[in-house]
Amino acid sequence: MTGNGGAAVALRGATLRYGRHVIWDNLDLDIAPGECLAVLGPNGAGKTTLLKVLLGLLPLSAGAVTIDGRPPRRGSPAAGYVPQQRDFDRDLPIRGRDLVQFGVDGHRRGLPFTRARQVDAAIEAVGARDYADAPVGLLSGGQQQRLRIAQALAGRPRLLLCDEPLLSLDPSSQHSVTALLNAYHREHGTTVVFVTHEITPVAGFVDRVLYVAGGHWAAGTPDAVMTTHRLSALYGTHIDVIRVHGRIVVVGGDDPEGHHHLPEDTPPGSQERR
């Protein structure tokens, strides 16, 4: 496989090391334009690191990466970024609208706060009009996350990079945020890379999964990758992938920090290792 064949994102032999610690090794992956890829794996497997590489914030140790045929560039308008869900401080003197505005001109110098039309459009697109003028710190986690998505969309990116956008959201907000991303993705053919530690909420809308663990990786459709066989081979130890009522639960994929994330409504007993 040489050339990019028009891939939105192309990784060739991409390797990332910190000192002697290999984060991921020899990663070959093409993400087609309009494709939605979920990046899964335990904590510390280098999921966020992959996004940083795509954002041009971190160079590869070896190999090559291109976005639309060019190396990633820091601050490129082609890529929108939804950072990890983390609540804003209650007293932060910023309204939802200002947060979205940053996506349009937050990086630009000049007299502050010119009003941009894209801001209203982005707020409308994520259904946040009703609370866009409220201080962000007073909004719920789900509302804040929608505004972050609006911020990423305000720059009209061709590639949307989301880092655990569902973290610490309650299941109904998880559902609505996922539905929102899915609708936008389908409507605009935006390429989406979605880092998550849990496949279930996004299983319906991702085209492919990239699973990274212990420096190794596997890519393919969710059904092909999320199997006991594939993940056991990846982790090098026995892993159970269980499907219950449409949920996919990975049991035994212990991460370096010693805890594994399970869907919130999974009974604690199932966390035991085999």
Binding site: L55, L57, R74, G75, S76, A79, Y81, P83, Q84, F88, D91, L92, P93, I94, R95, D98, L99, F102, G103, D105, G106, H107, R108, R109, G110, L111, P112, F113, D120, A121, E124, A125, V126, G127, R129, D130, Y131, D133, A134, P135, V136, L139, S140, G142, Q143, R148, Q151, L153, G155, L161, S172, S173, S176, A179, L180, A183, Y184, E187, H188
Partner: protein, 343 residues
Amino acid sequence: MSITFLLAQPFAQHALLAAALVAVSCGLIGPLVVTRGMSFAVHGTAELAFTGAAAGLVIADNPVAGALAGSLVVAALIATLGARPRERDSAIGAILAFGMGIGVLLLGFYQGFATAATNILFGNIFGVSGTQLLILVAIGVVVVAVMATWYRPLLFASVDPEAAEARGVPVRRLGLMFLLVLALTVTGAAQVVGTLLVLSLAITPAAAAQRLSASPLAVAALSVVFAVAAADGGLLASFGASNVKASVFITSISFAIYLAARLAGPRLRDRRQRSREERRVQSQARAYARCAPESAGTEMSRSDGPAGQLDKHVPSGLGWPGVLAGRSRDLSPAGRERLGLPP
């Protein structure tokens, strides 16, 4: 001496001008200081302006030049020793304690008037010479210019560093620049209110402003207005009571504004929240009325629950191109379905 007589004197006019400029710079950096959680850095650089001023006094009998040079050293030290946010406060504490020790030592060498030392600690704008006033004015102009240029990316970097970095904001470099601007501003403010009372111009007005609004532009404007009111108001008050230092009035006015804002803030916030709710209900009522003219459904929309319910509200499927083409008011099939209407 009457106030009108004093106001006609060039020294008083210069003092008022310098205080106003210092206040404008303080009012501008204040909201960013509060957002970035850097109040202690302000206090630290201010206290260390004492050491710089003492050095200036001993070496060249020029406390302002000494404080300015010192502030740059302090900014560089904080940047190198406290690069990570978590260790910043402890690094500032360590630098502050050592620096103050040096200041005490230096002051021991100083053979001049003892008032010079109190002036550094508690401020005396009238004791500042013409050239020093000019330096203060220059600092003010530089700070205002830098802020006007970089305010937006600085605010972005302060609010959400990760997103800002991804968007191409040079977060680290801006952080260093802000530290430098902060050190310069604080040193200027120290000449007016003294190193011990700088917080009353650099933090208090911004903290008061944040209680009253969540709009960054309004917060910056209010913060500047409050700082100027405190600085010049305090100076004017001190013309009337010549045996009380201006800094006493400045800190008092500043604190009074803060208290008033804390009292008024929650009420303002509630009122805004209510009016947002009303607007939301009204806009929904209009939407209902548009898709079902025969049953203009105000009572339907009223049943829609309080603020806590906002997030339950599923994306209506209002599309991006539709929005851009100005069709945002049309309800999509999904929206109609949600309202129980035929597609």
